[in-house]
Symmetry: C2
Subunit: 193 residues, 2 copies
C-alpha cells in the first residue's frame, strides 16, 4: 500500500529508507467503498489523503442544489480541502469515493511533524502545491476565456483515464457546462474524426 507513495515522493525528492520508515508511521490506512464519503460539507477536513488506489472527487453544492466539482484524484494523487485542513474551519466541500479506494490519511499534526522532522518534505509539498496552483490557474483562465470544447479537450489531455472512469454528468459539472452541451460536443468531435 505504501509503494506508490514511496514512488511519488522519490520522483521529486531524495529520502533515506529510515526517513521513509518514519514517514510511514505518520499515515493511517483507510479503505472506502464506492460512494462512501471521506468528508462531508460542514465538517472539518481532519485528514489529507494520498490515493493508493481508486478515484475520488471533491465538490460543493450551491444554494440551488447544483454540484460543482473542484477536483478528481486518481491513484498517486493527493486529496483534501486544504483550507479546512489548515485552518480547522468547517469545509464547504464533500469528498466522495467514485470507486472503491485505498487511502493513506495524514492529520495536520502528523503532517507538521513530517515537515519539521524531514525538511525535504517542505520541498516536496511546495512542488506539489505549485503544480496544483498552475493547473488551477489554467482552469480558472480557461473558464473565463475558452470554449466548452477547448475545456473538454484540455480535460482529456490532463486526465487520460477520465472518460472511462468518471460519469458523464460529473465531467460536465467539472467543466461548468450542462450534460446536454457535453453530449453535443462529443457528437461533433466524433463526426469530425
Amino acid at each position: 500500500m505504501y509503494e506508490l507513495l514511496y514512488k511519488k515522493i522519490t520522483e521529486t525528492i531524495s529520502i533515506t529508507d529510515e526517513e521513509f520508515d518514519y514517514c510511514k508511521t505518520l499515515f493511517l490506512p483507510k479503505k472506502l467503498r464506492k460512494r462512501q464519503y471521506l468528508l462531508q460539507d460542514g465538517d472539518v477536513n481532519k485528514y489529507t489523503a494520498f490515493v493508493s488506489n481508486g478515484l475520488l472527487r471533491s465538490y460543493t453544492v450551491d444554494e440551488k442544489g447544483n454540484e460543482h466539482i473542484l477536483q478528481f484524484a486518481f491513484e498517486g494523487w493527493w486529496m483534501g480541502d486544504l483550507y479546512s485542513f489548515l485552518t480547522d474551519e468547517p469545509s464547504s466541500f464533500n469528498i466522495e469515493a467514485l470507486e472503491a479506494c485505498e487511502l493513506l490519511l495524514i492529520t495536520k499534526p502528523s503532517w507538521e511533524l513530517l515537515l519539521n522532522r524531514i525538511p525535504a518534505f517542505e520541498r516536496y509539498f511546495r512542488i506539489l502545491i505549485q503544480n496544483n496552483l498552475i493547473a488551477t490557474q489554467k482552469r480558472l483562465m480557461g473558464n473565463l476565456s475558452k470554449s466548452a470544447e477547448e475545456k473538454y479537450v484540455n480535460l482529456l489531455n490532463n486526465f487520460p483515464g477520465c472518460l472511462q472512469r468518471v460519469p458523464q454528468h460529473m465531467i460536465a459539472s467539472y467543466l461548468g457546462i450542462t450534460p446536454e452541451t457535453l453530449s453535443r460536443i462529443r457528437g461533433q468531435m466524433a463526426a469530425r474524426k
Copy 2:
C-alpha cells in the same frame, strides 16, 4: 526598498541577518512607470517580482481580443507567471504596471540558489503558494457557483484597496462580468445602504 520584503518574509519564517543580507544580493531592483510591462505574452517570464511599491495586474487576451485578469498584485505581494517561470516556456500572460512600481526581481537560477542555500525559504514559498492555491480554488468555485454580486463582495473583502486603485472595467474583467453588470450591482448595493 528591501524593508517590506524583510517584513513579509519574517512574518512567515525566521532568518538571520546574514541570511537576509545574502537574500538581498539575489534580487535586482527595477522601476516601472505606469502602463509599462514586466512581461508580454509570447515571452518567457524570466523574473518573479516582489512588489515593494505600486500595483500590477496579470492578464491574458483571448482570440476575440477580450482581456481576462488572473491577478492583481499590491505592495507586499509577488507577481509572475509561475508556469513560464518554472518551465521556460513562453507565457500566455501580460504583466502590466497599473501604477508606478518599485519591484525586486529574482531569476529562476537565483531563486533556486536561495531555496538550496537557505532551506527555510522552501517553507516560505510553500506557504505563499499554498495561500495562493486556496484563494484560486475559492475564486474558481465562486465563478461556477456564486452570483456576480457575491463575487464582487468577495473581491472587496479580499482586496480592500481595490476599488480606489483599479479601474472599474478591470474589476469587471477580473470578476468575469461586463462593466454594465458591475455598474448595476454597485447601484443596487448603494440603494440598499
